[in-house]
Structure formats: structure tokens, C-alpha cells
Subunit: 409 residues, 2 copies
């Protein structure tokens, strides 16, 4: 069961210039939507960040190649059921075959197509099934298919992940809609399992890429379920505004830039935290907020040490305010010359450890009361500087073990 | 249930110059041996390595201080039930109080005493209970108490951990006996939860310290249960041979050095792997052997990435040859410029992934057959050099979650 508010947006806004088509292609399982094609209008700017895993899957390698091309991206094709990762020389041609078939059907160049795969690692991709499903997807293309698309990219996800917003900046209306998938093998490094966000803003290509990098570092790169970085992480940001009479945003100095970035950040953080809320076996949604560091990196290191600790995660599953495990994780996070006697820990608003020792006002009852909440923030003050960072994670439950002792796709 | 052979040695040899006394001091629980005093003869060489955790417990800080003293160490005092860690200004004086009481009773200096604590973090140490138990321990001192001592230092351990051997080098007989404790919060960094090894060899102090460092890096620093580095790790090596007419070993060139080191290494690795075999909830004992690296560090990084991956560990719990999770962990281990197409993976003698893709002869049945074994070696060949390293770990089971969702001591 996902944790807390994982509801769909009240309104899922379409993005002019973006259409989505879905089908059941039986890539691995029958009777399951497992193929998505996203069609972009001819002049859409697209930016991508991909996994840093050395076993980057064949589709990831092709995405990296195609995004370099001068031709604008026209189609994204996404399958679930098989990640086409660690498939070596056999895996590589299978995605180009899919791209080639789609290029022929749509009269585009193969380099205008970005392929994405997610599912089991190390098995041969059934690219014939994907090719057979393309016609269905193309016939089915609609601007209001975002929710269906979010379903089609799920694997162990128990909920579709959609975020959507509309804002007005200086009389100009901007729309942003995105979907994501992921529940396990989640500690994205430069991107998440799969995230697709589109806006009708008109953003210059270089700026779009740098915005995506910044946005991912505030969202998908700050979540962890199990510390496992996937071979297939990809996050894609599309901006369709060039032919929509939207003002060109081509620098961070543009008067619309900051408000638009903030709106995008909210969408990215919502999608990223939806992944954590749907983390495999999650019963608690945990925010680890670290302040008082010398730099962001050491705050991030401390936050991840806590977020990855199986002992911390099982204590949260048990609603046990076992704060010794939290400070132990702070202590081994590798912060140079950390003075334990300056470190303070709060759970939500309850001070537990103040400057290295039990807070004078702390009682087990107070700690217990916080720990029973489904959403908890661990506040760590390192007491040595002004930097801060935040990571989102979930607990480690019996269901995590059950799911991953069974899952093979 | 611990995994595989966790039997006690056929013979537990006493070490001349070492006596051990045990009692029930009710530090946290009643009716449980929880206090150990080790008495060393006046001229014993002692070397210690301690945790790198920034929240190093009060006893660890005192051990570091006392070991610097010129006076030879005469007593070690070890309690379970409470780690006296993250106890700030309150915790520090409590261990000196114990040392002071023991020094008075034994007419030694306080700096000749090393204190060790293990158990719950962040609670006030009941040092009065420890002091009250000292007389019992001193009355009870015996050379053949190693097995009782191994019981007395257990917390969540389900088995006492003892290793003992006797070897002859050039007509000289050397004896080595050691005990260790630990089952959770196990990813030692420079030492393990608690390990005590004694030999009757006569080893010069500087050499003893450097041997201990090397031995720990081959044993306790190569195990992980959950990746959590404890606040209280300490490993102590004692050499009693100076007054026993044993030849002085004062350099690595000494003709006895290598054979003695090998014998010590076997004892250290046995104690370290006993901790993994008794890992919380463990059902499988897993050796991760990485070869073909450019240097030892990258082999170690890859081995630990695999050994810490919850997805790999749950797959082993399920006896599921889900090797995609193994290569994903290799891929995110941070090895610079790793070529996935040179990486090979074997489970015991079954080749699964050869140079980046499924081995031609692999069948699911072969993988399944290996995975049902209680002891499995994951062989990774990085295909880029001659360095190697090995890490020992266990799987992640429902019982791990159960134990750590309950444990508070």
C-alpha cells in the first residue's frame, strides 16, 4: 500500500504538442498495458538525463546517441516487462529495430526516436512484440492520455504517478504535466527509472538541459528506496512552446524563469516523492532534512547514510524511536572531522538528541507518538555550517522482502 | 538460525598469560552473563583497532587513550546490554569509573585497563552494576574460560564465536585463540563489533599493531550484514610470548612471520565469517570474490556494492538466480570507465554472465541449483586488471526485518 497522499491531480492538463498512445503488446505478460508511444509536434525541445550505471541498458545508450542528433525528437517509445539491460551485443540491435519500425511508420528519421525499456534485467527483449504493438499506439494517440500512459509504464508500481499544474506568469499561462514510474531499484543517479515531463513553455535547448539537470538534482536524485541504482534510469523533459507564441525563455535572467522553474520543481518533487510513497513494501514516507553542514555534499551524504540504513528503516517500520541507529548512521556517513557533540536530531518537532546526547525533555512517549505517523521528517543539524540538503525515503518492511523475493519482471 | 558450519573448535586452546572471568552483572537484563574481565600477565603486548564512526562510543575513546600509555595493558573489561554511545558528557565518566574501580581492586593504574561496551545506543550506562560485578569476574578468572567469555559478550548473537589453533614453525609451537561478537549493525570500518584474539607468540609492539591492521583488513573489514558501521567496533590482539621464551618476532623478515601471520589470518577470517554466518536473519552465507580489477579498492567497492544491495540480498533469500540485480550493483559501484562488456559473473562454478551478456551455456535450472545452496560464492571478473578482493555477507530475510523491528538492546 502506498503511503499518504498519492492521489491523481484534480485536473491532468494536456500539453499542446504532445500526444500519447498505449496498447497491450504482450512484451512479457499478456492483458497488461505495456507499450507507450509519445508523439511530439515537429518543433519540440527535448532534454534527457540518463543513469550513471556502467551497465546502462541498450535503450539508454541509444537515447544518449539520438539526443545528440540535430533532428528534433518526434517520438518516444516505452516498453515495460523487459529492461534490455546486460544483454550485450544481442541487446543493442533490438531497440534500433523498434526505432526503425517506428520511423518507417511515421516517416521520420530513426534518430528522431527515443526508446525506453524497463523490467527484468538480462533477458532478451521481445522486440517483435513491441513492433507489432506500434500501430495500435499510433492509432490511439491522444493529448489527454497522460493517466493511461502512467499506467502503461508501471512495473511493480501499485499506483500511476502523475503530476500536473497550470500557472500564470506576467499574464502568460504555462502548463506542466509529467508521469513517472518506479518502486524498487530506486536510488537514481542523474535520473529516475522513468520520468516524462512536458511543458508548453518555450525554452531554449541549452537552458532546458541545464534546467532538467537542476530539477533532477532536487527531486529524482534525492530519493532512495533501496539504494540500488537502476541500469535504465531516464528522465525526459519536453518543452513545446516554440510554435505556440510563448515567449522564448533562453536564460536564467528571463523574468519568467524563476517562477517557471519553481512550478517545474514542484512537479518533479511530486513525481519523485510519489515513487517513494509507492516504494516496495513502504509503510512510512520519510523525509531526511539535514542542515548545518559545511556544504551540500556532506548534508547529502548524511541524509543518504540514514536513508539507506536497514537498521533505521526497520526501526521506522516498527515505529520504534531507536534514535541510536540514526546517530550511528550520521557517524559513519564519512563527514570529515564531524564533532558528535554538535549534532542534534529531531523527529518532526520532537528533539531527541541535542548536541550529541539525549535531549533533556525527551521522553519515550513523545518519540513513540511521532513514530506512529505515516509521514515523518528526520531533522539532523550537523552544527558546523549553513548548507542543507533533503532526501526522501521509505521504511524497510516485510513486504519489501516478500516483493523482492518473488519479483522477476 | 546461523548458516553452515558454526561449530566450536574441537579444542579451545588456552593462551599462557591470559585469564578470563565472567559474571551476570544485570547491566540491562537479569540472568544473563553480561560482564567479562580478561586479565593479562604483566608483560603482554596489546594492539587495538577501533571504529571510524564519528559517534565513537565513550569506551572506544578511552581505549584509544589508554592504549597510548607506556604502562602495559593488564585488564580488559567488557559489558553487553549498553553501548554507552551517543551519551555525550554523561557517558564519558561512566567508563572511567569502571576502570577506576577495577584498577583499585587489582592494584594497577587506570591506564592499564581497556573498557568495551556493546548493546543499545543512547541510553545511560549502568556503571554501578558493572562495578558490582567486578569481584565475581576476578574470583572467576581462569585460562580455559574462552568459550564462557564468548557467550558473555553476545547480544543478538545466536551462537558464541570462538576460533583456536596451534601450529608449529621451525620446532616452535604457537597457539592462537580468539572470540568475537556481532550479528547486526555489521559493516566494520577498521574493526568489528568486538573481537579479542590472543597468541603466545612474542611480537614486537609496532609489528603487532601493523599485523592487526593487516589482519583486520583481510577479515573483519571485509564483512557486512547490513552496511551499518557500529559506534563501538573494537578489535584487540594480544601477544603474551615475551616471558615465555618465545623468539622475538620484530619484523616481517623474521622466519616465523609469514606462517604465523597465515595462522592468525585463518583465525581472524573464521571469527569474521562466524559473524556473517550468524548475521541477523541470515539463511545464506555469501562470498563475493571480485577479480580482474585495476586495484584492490575498486574490487572492494564492487564487492561491497553487491553485498549491500537489498535487491541482491532478497534474491538470495528467495534462491532466485536474478543475476540482473548483481550486474546492476556492479554497474553502480563507481568503478571509473568500467566496460560492461568485459564483466563476467559466475555463481559458484556456473557461468551466468560472460563479458556483459548471458552465458551461452547458462540455463535457469543451473542457476536455480546453485542458488538453493546455503553457501554460495559470487565470482565477478571485471576484466581490466589483476587485482582482487573478497567480501563476506549474508542474505536479507524476513527474519532480519523481524529482529530489527523488535530489537532495542
Amino acid at each position: 500500500m502506498p503511503v499518504g497522499d498519492t492521489s491523481l491531480p484534480q485536473t491532468i492538463y494536456s500539453i499542446q504538442g504532445v500526444k500519447l498512445g498505449i496498447t497491450e503488446a504482450s512484451v512479457r505478460y499478456k492483458n497488461r498495458r505495456d507499450l507507450l508511444v509519445i508523439e511530439l509536434a515537429p518543433v519540440v525541445q527535448t532534454a534527457v538525463v540518463t543513469t550513471q550505471n556502467a551497465f546502462a541498458a541498450a535503450p539508454v545508450q541509444i537515447v544518449r546517441e539520438h539526443i545528440q542528433s540535430d533532428d528534433p525528437i518526434r517520438y518516444l517509445v516505452v516498453n515495460t516487462g523487459n529492461a534490455n539491460a546486460a544483454t550485450g551485443d544481442d541487446g543493442y540491435p533490438r531497440e534500433p529495430n523498434v526505432c526503425k519500425a517506428l520511423a518507417e511508420k511515421t516517416k521520420t528519421n530513426i534518430s528522431q526516436i527515443l526508446p525506453y525499456s524497463t523490467g527484468v534485467i538480462g533477458e532478451t527483449l521481445n522486440s517483435d512484440a513491441i513492433v507489432s504493438g506500434l500501430d495500435d499506439c499510433l492509432e490511439n494517440l491522444q493529448a489527454d492520455n497522460w493517466q493511461e500512459a502512467a499506467h502503461a509504464i508501471c512495473t511493480t508500481d501499485t499506483i500511476p504517478k502523475v503530476a500536473s499544474t497550470q500557472i500564470e506568469i506576467d499574464g502568460e499561462t504555462y502548463t506542466i504535466t509529467g508521469i513517472a514510474k518506479g518502486a524498487g531499484m530506486i536510488r537514481p543517479n542523474m535520473a529516475t527509472m522513468l520520468g516524462f515531463v512536458a511543458t508548453d513553455a518555450n525554452i531554449a535547448p541549452e537552458l532546458l538541459q541545464s534546467m532538467l539537470k537542476d530539477l533532477v538534482n532536487l527531486s529524482f536524485n534525492r530519493i532512495t528506496v533501496d539504494g540500488d541504482t537502476s541500469t535504465n534510469d531516464c528522465c525526459t523533459l519536453m518543452a513545446t512552446g516554440q510554435t505556440l507564441n510563448k515567449p522564448l525563455i533562453n536564460s536564467t535572467q528571463h523574468p519568467h524563469y524563476h517562477a517557471l522553474f519553481d512550478a517545474l520543481e514542484k512537479i518533479f518533487v511530486r513525481l519523485a516523492t510519489l515513487i517513494v510513497r509507492d516504494g516496495e513494501g513502504a509503510t512510512k514516507f520519510i523525509t531526511v532534512a539535514v542542515t548545518g553542514g559545511k556544504d551540500t555534499q556532506e548534508c547529502c551524504d548524511v541524509a543518504y547514510a540514514i536513508a539507506h540504513s536497514p537498521l533505521v528503516k526497520t526501526a521506522f517500520f516498527a515505529s520504534d524511536p531507536n534514535w541510536g541507529r540514526i546517530v550511528a548512521a550520521v557517524g559513519y556517513a564519512g563527514v570529515p572531522d564531524l564533532d558528535a557533540n554538535k549534532v542534534s536530531v529531531k523527529l518532526d518537532n520532537v528533539a531527541i538528541c541535542t548536541r550529541g546526547q539525549l535531549d533533556a525533555d525527551y521522553t519515550e512517549a513523545k518519540g513513540q507518538a511521532v513514530m506512529t505517523r505515516p509521514e515523518i521528517t528526520i531533522h539532523i543539524d550537523l552544527g558546523r555550517g549553513k548548507a542543507s540538503d533533503t532526501v526522501y525515503t521509505c521504511d524497510l518492511s516485510h513486504d519489501y522482502v516478500t516483493i523482492n523475493a518473488d519479483y522477476r519482471s
